[in-house]
Point group: C2
């Protein structure tokens, strides 16, 4: 090794220890139905393969590439973890407490919704060896401040389901009112009265009834879809731009 | 200059050109009354004293210090610009488009509300030479992507005034319903019917009537204050933590 190369290495090490680095992580929510038929909110976690926190579960993510936008980095880490494109992807928050990592790391965190059927379809060229899905209400101790991040993402999800069409990201394009209520119940963590729920969503005027019905073991139930025009307006001026 | 110092300088220059850097900027909203008595939303801008965009107006901000949390950096740049502590300060969004600056810069943007009387009181030890307040609806062409950032902050403000107590950040602790309506009118950019407005805010149940009245040229008007308990619950798990 020449003297210059040694100096290079020394300088790189020094720069790495004093610089602020930017990571992007994603909280990916989906639904799972337990054997008793009740739905709950789940999210995928990955095992850390090196220090700090080697062997612990953590949110999927990675370093921001210098040629990559924040949105692109979030979509990339999401695809690498689940092999899926999300039905909903939005920036959540930038976490930057000084002591959240041994070196200074700012994590730009996104949150995403993936439909249940999509989250179950395994991608053939996708290695899921160190990925597992966890019930959001029963997480182990995660690496870094990731438990706090998930807690905040759940708070945002619960809040947002009240005044927006965010539940759409967990449903098929057409759904029954019972299926929509199930999503709300899973997110809010409590049972809702079916008659009250039907009245409220019908009054909100965001749903469009279709001419189709879900048939099966119960009596046929009408299928609805969300009003797409209202949904596009909702995310504001950042929807298309970044 | 020794050979080692030269190498240091070269390495630092190389590191600066390839690294991602983190800046913190703040959109600070307040109200100003024009001579005709109508209120409008205003914000302070600073002249850039060096390239890129030297001489153009920009949002107040600066580089994140490695020992400083994001919230602390936002509060610091806000104090340096206006000499004030804000009545409301919240993270807005992380802007990270690859081409938003000649080098790669991620800007974590905060938004703040400052009460009108506070924003007019000049801080004696505070140099405001290159700071000026602008009407939010008539901004010049700003440096970087700062026009887009202000547009997004205004969208968030308009949205948030509908479902939260955010107007409080622009009002004194006690206020009349006419003063509250003025804040809504300035934010939404349109006149509101006084009788409808009174009915809506009374039904929302967030206001506590006091035993005091505002007297003057008009007939006495009752003073109200916001319900503090409800306000604390609103900002969720991040209120205290970071």
């Amino acid at each position: 090794m020449t003297r210059t190369t040694l100096l290079d290495a020394a300088h790189e090490a020094a720069a790495a220890s004093t610089a602020t680095r930017v990571a992007v992580s994603t909280v990916i929510f989906s639904l799972r139905r337990s054997p008793d038929g009740r739905a709950s909110v789940v999210l995928p976690l990955v095992t850390r393969t090196r220090d700090p926190h080697q062997g612990q579960w953590a949110l999927p993510g990675g370093w921001l590439d210098i040629t990559e936008s924040l949105d692109a980095a979030a979509a990339r880490t999401l695809a690498e973890t689940t092999g899926l494109a999300p039905s909903y992807l939005e920036q959540l928050y930038a976490f930057g407490a000084v002591d959240r990592s041994p070196t200074r790391v700012i994590s730009i965190v996104y949150w995403a919704l993936v439909r249940e059927d999509e989250s179950r379809s395994a991608s053939p060229d996708h290695d899921q060896e160190n990925v597992a899905w966890f019930d959001a209400s029963a997480l182990p101790a995660l690496a870094f401040d990731h438990n706090e991040i998930v807690e905040y993402a759940l708070w945002r999800l619960r809040n947002k389901v009240g005044y927006s069409r965010v539940a759409h990201g967990l449903l098929a394009d057409e759904f029954t009112l019972a299926e929509l209520r199930e999503v709300y119940e899973a997110i809010l963590g409590r049972r809702l009265d079916p008659a009250n729920f039907r009245r409220q969503v019908e009054n909100a005027g965001n749903l469009v009834p279709t001419d189709s019905f879900r048939t099966g073991s119960h009596r046929p139930a009408r299928l609805y879809r969300y009003n797409q025009d209202a949904e596009l307006a909702e995310r504001g001026p950042l929807t298309v731009r970044q």
